[in-house]
C-alpha cells in the first residue's frame, strides 16, 4: 500500500501534465500568447525608459524593482532565519 499510493498519485499527475503539454502552444512559436502580452514594450522602449540596454536588468531593477526588493528580502529572511535557528546551538555565545 505504501508503495502503491505514491505511484498512483504520480501516474495521475504525470498523465495530467503530459496531456497539458500536448495542448500547449508550440515551443518557440513567435505568435504564442505568451509573447503577445507585455513583451513588446519592454524590448522597444527599455533603453529610453531606463537607460539600460540589458532588457532583463531593466525589467528586474526598474519595471519590476518591487519584486527584486522582495527577492532581496527573501535572502535577508533566510540569513536571519538561519542565524536565529542556529543561535541556540551555541551555549557560550
Amino acid at each position: 500500500m505504501k508503495k502503491v499510493l505514491p505511484v498512483l498519485v504520480l501516474a495521475a499527475i504525470g498523465m495530467l501534465l503530459v496531456l497539458t503539454v500536448a495542448e500547449m502552444p508550440t515551443f518557440g512559436d513567435g505568435q504564442a500568447p505568451a509573447h503577445r502580452g507585455v513583451m513588446d514594450k519592454y524590448l522597444r522602449d527599455s533603453a529610453q525608459d531606463t537607460g539600460a540596454i540589458n532588457t532583463i536588468a531593466a525589467i528586474i531593477l526598474d519595471y519590476r524593482a518591487y519584486d527584486t526588493l522582495g527577492e532581496a528580502t527573501v535572502l535577508f529572511v533566510a540569513v536571519l532565519a538561519v542565524s536565529a535557528a542556529l543561535y541556540q546551538g551555541e551555549h557560550h555565545a
Binding site: P6, V9, L10, I13, G14, L17, V18, T20, V21, A22, E23, M24, T26, F27, G28, D29, G30, A34, H35, G37, V38, M39, Y42, L43, S46, A47, I53, N54, T55, I56, I59, I60, R64, D67, T68, G70, E71, V74, L75, V77, A78, V79, A81, V82, A85, L86, G89
Partner: protein
C-alpha cells in the same frame, strides 16, 4: 489522433522534459526517507519549473535580450527576469532547510525521516 498528440509532444519536448523532471522530483520527495535527498528532490522540482518557465520565453531565432545594434529578434525577456527571482527564492529555502537539517541531526542523531518520527513519537507517549 494519438499520432497527433505524439507529434505535439515532440514539438514541445522542452516542456515535456521539465514536466518529467518535475515528476521525478516529486517521486523522490514521496518515496525517499533521507532528508538531504528530500531537499535535493525539492531542488529538482524547482529547477524543472525554472526550465519550464524559461522555455516559455523562447522564440524561434531569438537572441539574448540585450539591445545591441544589428540584432532584431529577441527572446521574451519576462520569464528570464522572473526566474532570476525564483532562483534566489529557491536558494533561500534550501539554505534554511540545510540549517534545519543540521539542527535535526544534532537533536536526533539521524537523517532518516521515519526514524525521527519514531523517536519523536516514543517521546510523546
Amino acid at each position: 489522433m494519438s499520432m497527433e498528440i505524439l507529434e505535439r509532444l515532440y514539438g514541445n519536448i522542452y516542456y515535456l522534459t521539465s514536466v518529467i523532471l518535475f515528476v521525478i522530483g516529486f517521486h523522490t520527495m514521496l518515496t525517499h526517507r533521507n532528508l538531504i535527498k528530500k531537499l535535493m528532490a525539492l531542488n529538482i522540482m524547482d529547477t524543472a519549473i525554472f526550465l519550464f518557465f524559461v522555455a516559455i520565453g523562447y522564440r524561434q531565432g531569438g537572441q539574448a535580450p540585450i539591445l545591441l545594434p544589428g540584432v532584431t529578434s529577441f527572446v521574451n525577456p519576462v520569464p528570464s527576469a522572473l526566474i532570476l527571482t525564483g532562483i534566489v527564492i529557491s536558494v533561500s529555502f534550501t539554505a534554511f532547510a540545510l540549517a534545519l537539517v543540521v539542527l535535526l541531526y544534532k537533536h536526533y542523531g539521524t537523517l532518516d525521516s521515519d526514524e525521527i518520527i519514531a523517536i519523536r513519537g516514543k517521546k510523546h507517549v
